[in-house]
């Protein structure tokens, strides 16, 4: 308590005293996401046999033969060959619930110093909200919202924030992951700097966990094809 000014001992031990352990922990989940991607993702550039489009207003589905495309517009949405219309009640309830779930996740990350919570837990809740969106609508809609490239970048950025904070401490002539080195940068005393350092690291962990959960779900649930169904 005198050393870190963090009342939650679990957070203090996790992010400060055992900082190395947690850093490689983040690396482990990062590599798990990457492994899922490389094992499953099928990135064939070949044309599908037929494309299916659905007219949003009338619900009429049209099938286009190989090679034909409709440019993306508000009137038509591309759908998969196996497509079940999402239930209206489920869709609406999820649409109402998801913002609150995400707000709670941010609270869990930010309040990890003073109550049970932290980067891992908050990141998982954030990821779960996006997965809920993918389940209640369909995977194609979810991937359109959060693209695969963005997920990959987020995954790496989370680990980078963690390792970068450690390296920054090293540059400021203290040990790796010794956050009291940040005192000069943040204009606070070393004890508060350690508290802030823990928060920065937790945000990094949260981003990495969020992206990895979505990445694993996207790949495993569609066997790497990013289409509905296995």
């Amino acid at each position: 308590m005198e050393e870190t000014s963090v009342p939650n001992i679990v957070t203090a031990v996790l992010a400060d005293y055992r900082g190395f352990d947690t850093m490689f922990e983040t690396t482990v989940i990062f590599s798990a996401g990457v492994v899922c991607f490389f094992l499953l993702r099928i990135s064939r550039r070949e044309e599908p046999e037929a494309r299916y489009y659905r007219h949003v207003l009338t619900g009429v589905t049209i099938q286009l033969k190989e090679g034909y495309k409709i440019p993306p517009s508000a009137e038509f949405e591309q759908i998969d060959a196996v497509w079940t219309p999402p239930d209206l009640i489920i869709k609406t309830v999820c649409r109402i619930l998801i913002p609150f779930i995400q707000l709670f996740a941010l609270y869990v990350i930010a309040h990890g110093h003073h109550s049970p919570g932290g980067g891992f837990q908050g990141g998982v809740i954030l990821g779960a909200s996006v997965i809920l969106f993918a389940i209640s609508h369909d995977l194609r809609t979810a991937v359109r919202r959060i693209s695969e490239k963005l997920i990959g970048i987020f995954c790496a950025v989370g680990v980078l924030i963690y390792a970068g904070t450690g390296a920054l401490c090293l540059l400021l002539k203290l040990n790796f992951l010794d956050y009291s080195a940040l005192a000069g940068l943040l204009h606070v005393d070393p004890v508060t700097a350690r508290s802030h350092g823990i928060l920065i690291v937790e945000i990094g962990v949260g981003i990495a966990v969020l992206a990895t959960m979505i990445w694993i779900y996207n790949n495993v649930s569609s066997a790497g094809r990013y289409r509905q169904g296995l």
Binding site: P7, V10, T22, E25, V28
Partner: protein
């Protein structure tokens, strides 16, 4: 004899975890289906997590978050007896994350195997490998 029985009964939580662990181990070794093996692995992990968390428990203690612990003027005595041991919690936070990561990778591998061999039964896969 009564001593032995009383020690066994007093530590009944450990026996529950050992039973769970053995169920998981049995599923991992004896089951033929790969998905059932993965489920067994998860049961095993859960048993270990429960075991560690129960090590940290103290009677009459609360969660390891210091009370009135805000600001620098909060210089009051902290009694270790009032808080449960935080270290097992930290270790198990780590273990849960590793569990999710291994589950994801295991499922990905299972999907790849299914795409290749069209089955998840171990003996059928082995038979197909031997045939080649």
């Amino acid at each position: 004899m009564t001593d032995l029985i009383s020690t066994i009964v007093a530590k009944y939580n450990y026996w529950i975890y050992i039973t769970l662990m053995m169920i998981g181990l049995y599923a991992m070794i004896a089951k033929n289906n790969l998905v059932k093996k993965i489920v067994g692995m998860n049961i095993f992990q859960t048993a270990i997590i429960l075991f560690y968390v129960s090590i940290g428990v103290k009677k009459g203690a609360t969660i390891p978050i210091l009370e009135h612990g805000h600001g620098h003027d909060a210089q009051h005595v902290v009694h270790a007896m009032d808080y449960i041991n935080p270290l097992p919690h930290v270790l198990m936070l780590t273990a849960i994350v590793v569990g999710v990561a291994t589950l994801g990778v295991a499922l990905a591998l299972a999907i790849r195997i299914y795409n290749n061999y069209n089955t998840l039964e171990e003996n059928e896969i082995m038979a197909q490998i031997r045939k080649k």
